[in-house]
């Protein structure tokens, strides 16, 4: 009895297995050998942020600020990306208001590995030599005030031109300026 059923079962089994492999070969049947998982690769969505851009008002005796709202779109949450986007807007606004010469641009923005120092490298010196120390100081304070809206508010800032500290007769930029600034 056993011997009479053995061969038909073997034939049927091999025929079925052969059919399955034939279908798989011709891609009529697709088998997922690796079990698909539902893990998603995380990619942050671009975010829009409203910021205030500050510039000194043209009064000689009081420190007042002109403010303008601007929107920036951030691809990622890195501090340098955010700082770079804000600074680009600030430079455009300062150039519109004739506070900065048109050739001044941001070359690069870097942060130290400890996240304590932020380096801003300009293509040209943003400080006008013939302006008073007070005008230059107010311009830097307005930049710091604008940057304080980012996570860089606890950093120290180095302002550079062509990767060297900016040289000025009034303002000492050889050392880092606290982003918190000096204005009360």
């Amino acid at each position: 009895m056993k011997n009479r059923l053995f061969y038909p079962i073997l034939c049927t089994t091999t025929f079925v297995i052969g059919c399955i492999f034939f279908c798989m070969y011709h891609e009529w049947l697709i088998v997922f050998w690796n079990k698909p998982t539902l893990t998603l690769s995380y990619q942050a969505l671009p975010t829009k942020k409203t910021i205030l851009l500050y510039l000194p008002k043209s009064t000689d005796t009081t420190t007042e600020w002109k403010k303008e709202k601007a929107e920036i779109v951030l691809d990622d949450s890195a501090l340098t990306t955010e700082a770079n986007a804000i600074l680009q807007k600030w430079i455009s606004y300062a150039q519109e208001q004739h506070c900065l010469p048109m050739n001044v641009q941001i070359d690069s923005v870097c942060i130290s590995p400890s996240h304590n120092e932020l380096y801003i490298n300009f293509t040209h010196n943003p400080l006008n030599k013939i302006k008073s120390a007070y005008d230059k100081y107010c311009l830097i304070e307005s930049l710091l005030l604008t940057l304080r809206q980012t996570d860089a508010r606890t950093c120290n800032l180095y302002l550079l031109t062509k990767h060297q500290p900016i040289l000025d007769s009034h303002i000492d930029l050889s050392a880092a300026w606290p982003v918190q600034g000096f204005s009360p």
């Binding site: 005796t61 120390a133 007070y134 009034h170």
Partner: protein
């Protein structure tokens, strides 16, 4: 027979004309001339003449060697309307906290201001108030930040920047600056 009598000055005030223009030198010379007549026991010195333009480090070295009681830096710049700005040197707001050091300590140039930062701010505030009483256009408060001409000065120091439309026309303000300086030096003498 005449015996020369030398009065040894009790204290020294060093006045630094800003390097921007030689007009500042002439203003400082006039101020020193007036102040020397008023205070006989104080010697008034200047850091440069009209032909010299020493850099910040050379000026600081010279000032620290003289070790004056008070260092005043006077600057003239062009501005649309006349205005006075008063500065002291700070690298951080915490520099105003009391820092002690002995005379044998090595103090780097960028830390020299820390010993007298608070006194400098008080003296500068007093000078600002004195200018305001002379009804001169001034800023609301003293600006404290890394003001380069005061870098490396160890004694009590502050700077004055006079913005005027024409640099040569500082004469109308000389008298008021002179009066304000007298008030500051007198107050400083009383507190010392």
């Amino acid at each position: 027979m005449l015996f020369p009598l030398y009065i040894i000055p009790q204290s020294t005030v060093l006045i630094h004309p800003g390097n921007e223009t030689d007009e500042a030198v002439y203003l400082c010379q006039e101020l020193i001339h007036g102040l020397a007549k008023y205070f006989h026991s104080i010697q008034f010195l200047t850091t440069r003449t009209s032909q010299e333009h020493p850099n910040t480090q050379a000026t600081a070295t010279f000032a620290n060697r003289i070790n004056p009681e008070l260092y005043i830096s006077i600057h003239l710049t062009q501005a649309s309307a006349p205005c006075f700005h008063i500065y002291t040197y700070l690298q951080n707001k915490t520099d105003l906290w009391r820092h002690t050091s002995s005379s044998l300590d090595f103090i780097p140039l960028n830390k020299a201001h820390m010993h007298h930062a608070k006194n400098s701010l008080d003296t500068a505030s007093l000078f600002l108030e004195s200018l305001k009483t002379e009804s001169l256009p001034c800023t609301d408060s003293v600006c404290s930040f890394p003001f380069k001409p005061l870098a490396g000065i160890q004694c009590v120091s502050f700077a004055v920047e006079l913005g005027i439309p024409e640099l040569s026309k500082w004469h109308p303000y000389k008298e008021q600056i002179h009066n304000a300086l007298i008030k500051v030096i007198m107050a400083y003498q009383e507190s010392a």
